[in-house]
Symmetry: C2
Subunit: 324 residues, 2 copies
Amino acid sequence: MAVLDADGTVHTQWGDIDRPVFPRSAVKVLQALPLVESGAAERWQLSDEELALACASHGGEPAHARTAAAMLAKAGVDATALECGAHWPYNDAALKALAASGQQPSALHNNCSGKHAGFVCLGCLMAGDSDRRAFLSGYVKPEHPVMREVTAALQATTGYDLAQAARGTDGCSIPTYAVPLRHLAHAFARVGTGVGLSAGHQRAARRLRAAVAAAPGMVAGSGRFDSRVMALLGERVFCKVGAEGVYCAALPGSGLGVAVKMDDGNNARACEVVMAALLLRLLPMSGDEQQQLSDLADVKLSNWNGIEVGRLRALPGLHRGACA
Amino acid sequence: MAVLDADGTVHTQWGDIDRPVFPRSAVKVLQALPLVESGAAERWQLSDEELALACASHGGEPAHARTAAAMLAKAGVDATALECGAHWPYNDAALKALAASGQQPSALHNNCSGKHAGFVCLGCLMAGDSDRRAFLSGYVKPEHPVMREVTAALQATTGYDLAQAARGTDGCSIPTYAVPLRHLAHAFARVGTGVGLSAGHQRAARRLRAAVAAAPGMVAGSGRFDSRVMALLGERVFCKVGAEGVYCAALPGSGLGVAVKMDDGNNARACEVVMAALLLRLLPMSGDEQQQLSDLADVKLSNWNGIEVGRLRALPGLHRGACA
């Protein structure tokens, strides 16, 4: 776990922060910077909801699928342009409702459909006068002009040489690069403060943070950690989960960026509790906000009969700052 | 990870095999011994399918729910006797079909419904001439006569003092005791060979192993590891997953018992691959069987577009025996 400021100074660290990890979906906000910087978000008049969805790992709820479709329509294409693949909604009620309707999921239900709709919107601008669909084809490949822009933003914000980094293929088929927690935390400190970013990335980061704060339900979904935390704290925090137990956050007020990787590879257990404990420690907040966040930092585990069978709690050291 | 014989001799160990872990559902076969030993299985004329389901963490497929209901009917009660709680089927197709039908899941869909139906069948015998439902009430509590029998079987087979052990409440509300891997592996060596067991437990273990080998689809479900392995290898292996990354197995031919705990707490990733690699190493098998098991020991990970994005593979040492 790494907490850094935008100058690259380490505020707190636990474990090896120089071992590269695949940040997966935790860096979607970095990957969405070109969408705004390029002028595509303005050209297609993307709303707060739509920009928040571009940074999202959403639950495939009806509003999420609808918003992704609207982004594509604004750019003059439809869901057939998406190359993320289809999967059943992660949101339980949405999955059951879709099954009950006798329908199959589409790419719009993929948790990454907003990010991909953002890539497609960027591609539709980059295509200029050429055929949009022909230009977009294969946009998930590392060498495609769209993905080059996305990778360049990741490199600029993390300051890490991605050409030398291990590269994998993400669940939605775009490249994912292994980056040390030190660089991920540094990138999020930059995104929160603008320090060390180009003017275009500064403006884009500010716009995306504001969009997510205005439409927090788009970035994750009903009852989910990221949506709850940002609905509670607004622009004071931007946090984002990634597959295999990664969490990143920007805390603009204190100028800090946070990057966490849990060895258990689970996104929704220790990871969320640790993030809640870190926010309690690092962010000034009201008593009511503290109480609500404390509920996320000390989670009751209930069995199928509603009996409490355990709790998920961060180590006291994490709360008190003993890990600094 | 511990591999022991029935005399308690360690054949192979990795990590700390004396640290207690909660075996959860991995010990269901031990918990089912009283069902047979008591004569309840005979009294209610339980079939192979029903006895296999008593050892199961099943997917809530229609056949599973139907079989649990049949067990209860034989003992003269119904699903309202179950105290395991309800949850949606783990099997994806079963969940969607249930949602599509507009129904809600019942306790019969709980992955533990067969184990609980076994407890209820045992309780209905123990009730004798008294009111069955009154006797059964609270059978999940540690102090209930049914659960005392279950705990006594766990203690007899593991040889571990459960009165001194940490006790938790399982997902289905029965007690779960923390037991070291050494004792879990020893218990499974005993269950596989009968060595060190009472005559009643010997007979019960043999009956349960035969039942699961005859009806492997009942112990887990369509496409799942335990069902696939036992369908392939029959009585040569009994293996059973437990929540939070535990796996236990009995290998009657070689007289060995196996107990694995993965630190990631995931039941269906490293855990299964390690178990497959151990079986390849410890069990004599045909070339075709080797090939089929090798597919479970080296698993391709595909993303939503079917692109291979990684593999799950056991360390070479596990295959070669370097860990001995």
